[in-house]
Subunit: 244 residues, 4 copies
């Protein structure tokens, strides 16, 4: 059942230790088959060097296990909420990567301070509100997803253009059109969090990017006028035009 | 004599360089056989790449060497005090891991600022009082253990729920039900120490976790209602319930 | 066409991940054949572990692709401007190395604070002005090169003695007589950026080097009286003389 | 000529990249044969992965090359001054390790703030005065050694108990009874420099160790009553006594 997706989700999970995004088992990736309404997720608490594609657990959009011998990640309800709220995402990743966690603990956004950020995230990455005592006791992992969704709604953010959030006091969630892209976004988030920290210590002045620079960097990599990489019709034409 | 325990303690010691917790020989792990009242500890000053299981030294609960050709770790008296004072621990580790040392030198607790911390430690990890001149000259290593024990008593801390301490000006000790779990706890301590440092530089405001979030994270991994990982009866049931 | 140069530029590009200067594909190196007026550059968005010498793209000094199946780096117009403005450079490298990016985002120069810096850079490395909204929208990558050139002109800097610049909000460009030397200079820049950050946090006092120490370190490695390394006539003579 | 010493100095040099103490060729180790009055040092500017034992250069105590096809390290005059001034040292190492350089650029001592420091250095490690314009122009590398010697004299420091110094604006020199021990001391210096930096950012209060703790840690590893490691008569006796 969903063997290709299991393989894809397995490989995305295995990227986490390679990219220095996890210590021990502290991270999980899932990927969804939108037609079937089923997603595949890492089992809970299994060491990365023992993980196999067949260990992946299949879950439906109510968060119920449909196939798998092992327990799914304890963060499964968070993934469920995000897949239901953000219909265009194909993969989700949660890590405890240390720079992002440092900002999450400070309840601070990761601001857009450089073009490395702007290449991937169209705005600062928001720190979603910490959960209340009631939200934690009632449905902790589910409400973790809901605080992210609420933050995007309240701030009018586009979840496709800003594909990540911090949960205050906890850590980062990132997503994307595929599990692999979600992991890429999680790595970018960790890199720019470290850079922002150092920029903020160097100067307390406002170092946030102006919107026109965010526009330029984001749109040269994304959308119909993108010209970065090998797969955009505009790319080759652009290289010449720019210096005319 | 205690060959299985020697192997276990040897393997736990060998985790220290793999987890970037030691430079040179600056760390040691011990493990205890509670029935026999004997513990096994790394010899003093031996390089990790030359260490063998048979080098492990057997010591009794008075701190006397019972078997072994080599001198035990110079920190053996500290281990002895902790095994006597904390009857439910099965392993102890001491390192000079740099983030934990940085807090120890500042005589500051490692506060509970994020859920990575709360997953393992139920409270902040205390910085035990620095030893006085008299305590150092009288019985340095023994009193190093005693200042930890005294700090846990004075603050009413549960050594099983907060399985680590800093010794001010010196560095971290961690423990657990087994030598392997003690090493795990030492690594978590090092990771959260680095995160806390950065969170504290980002904001001087109170970033400590509320008790209800500590409760949630600690108890979803520990105790009878735990649902993280593969070995808890509650785990599978939970995943579904949370999203009902 | 330019097979030797392609090989040289390929090898210089492959140094970037080895020297921890890039994450994913975030960097590019080019090298120029001054007689032919053509330069060779990494294709856009290709993974380093899939890169081959034959993937390199040949570009003329108008920024037009002359040979190559792939799109050249999206930063090609910046390289074009620099090759035209700085006639003695043979190679250029752009990275998003994190310490240099942290300074770029703060719009701060990387000051000359230690002799590691002075061995390679004769002055502080300038943060070129951020581009205006108009400059970004008109010709982003071309104007990125122009702001570097303008900054060197305005400050009276010698591009051969200070072979690097930051582009504010973006990141570092470095150059040199060859692609390999350009990469060397980019690594030195990253190392001293990290050191300067820590020096600046330790003391807000002026820690910049005096000119006479910059002179000494720069000129013992560069120019006709250099005596560092194996290729300077002065070297052996010097070692004895200094202690006479 | 001095083949054993060349091998020993070669191996000590090769430890520098393994211990993350050098970037490129920025470091050198020497070792001395006191009976012959000759020392052996790394050649200038040679890559570590191309270095061979036979490349080592033999120099006398006037700083003159006695044997060797290559130029000796450009820091040879500094080594010469230190060997002449400190008669009991057998090896010297110079690196540009980044934490030590950060303190050197700030012209700040590396204070004794934790017992990792006290295990190796009996006092804070001094930042020797920066050279004057005249000292730099007259005999740069020789005066680099002399400022270290002068600082030890003025502060009444024991070069055997505090086997390292920073040269302000430049970087660390460390030494010891053998080249291997000198490298060990250089690594300890780098580790404690990083820890001290973080401790100093955590608290501006005085975090320096009291003398009685320095005494305890230094003397449990050094001198006739040492009991750390396997080679001290006192070691085994001690382990038992401490808990009596």
């Amino acid at each position: 059942m969903l063997e290709d997706l299991k393989q894809e989700v397995y490989e995305a999970n295995m990227q986490l230790p390679k990219l220095d995004l996890v210590t021990f088992t502290w991270g999980n990736v899932s990927g969804i088959d939108r037609e079937k309404g089923l997603f595949v997720i890492k089992p809970s608490g299994v060491d990365y060097d023992q993980l196999k594609p067949s260990d992946m657990v299949v879950v439906n959009l109510k968060g119920e296990v449909v196939e798998g011998d092992m327990n799914p990640s304890s963060d499964t309800p968070t993934h469920t909420v995000l897949y239901n709220a953000f219909p265009n995402i194909g993969g989700i990743v949660h890590t405890h990567s240390p720079w992002a966690v440092s900002f999450a603990a400070a309840k601070m956004d990761i601001p857009a301070m450089n073009t490395t950020h702007a290449d991937t995230f169209f705005t600062g990455v928001p720190a979603a509100d910490a959960l209340t005592k009631e939200e934690i006791e009632e449905d902790y992992e589910g409400n973790t997803g809901k605080t992210i969704v609420k933050t995007f709604k309240e701030r009018g953010l586009d979840y496709e253009a800003t594909p990540a959030a911090l949960v205050s006091q906890h850590g980062p969630f990132a997503w994307g059109p595929t599990p692999d892209k979600a992991v890429y976004n999680a790595k970018v988030l960790e890199v720019v969090a470290g850079e922002d920290y150092h920029t903020m210590q160097l100067t307390r002045a406002n170092s946030e990017l102006p919107q026109y620079l965010l526009d330029k960097h984001y749109y040269r990599k994304h959308g119909k006028n993108a010209y970065y990489g090998q797969n955009n019709a505009k790319s080759q034409e652009h290289a010449a035009r720019e210096t005319e």
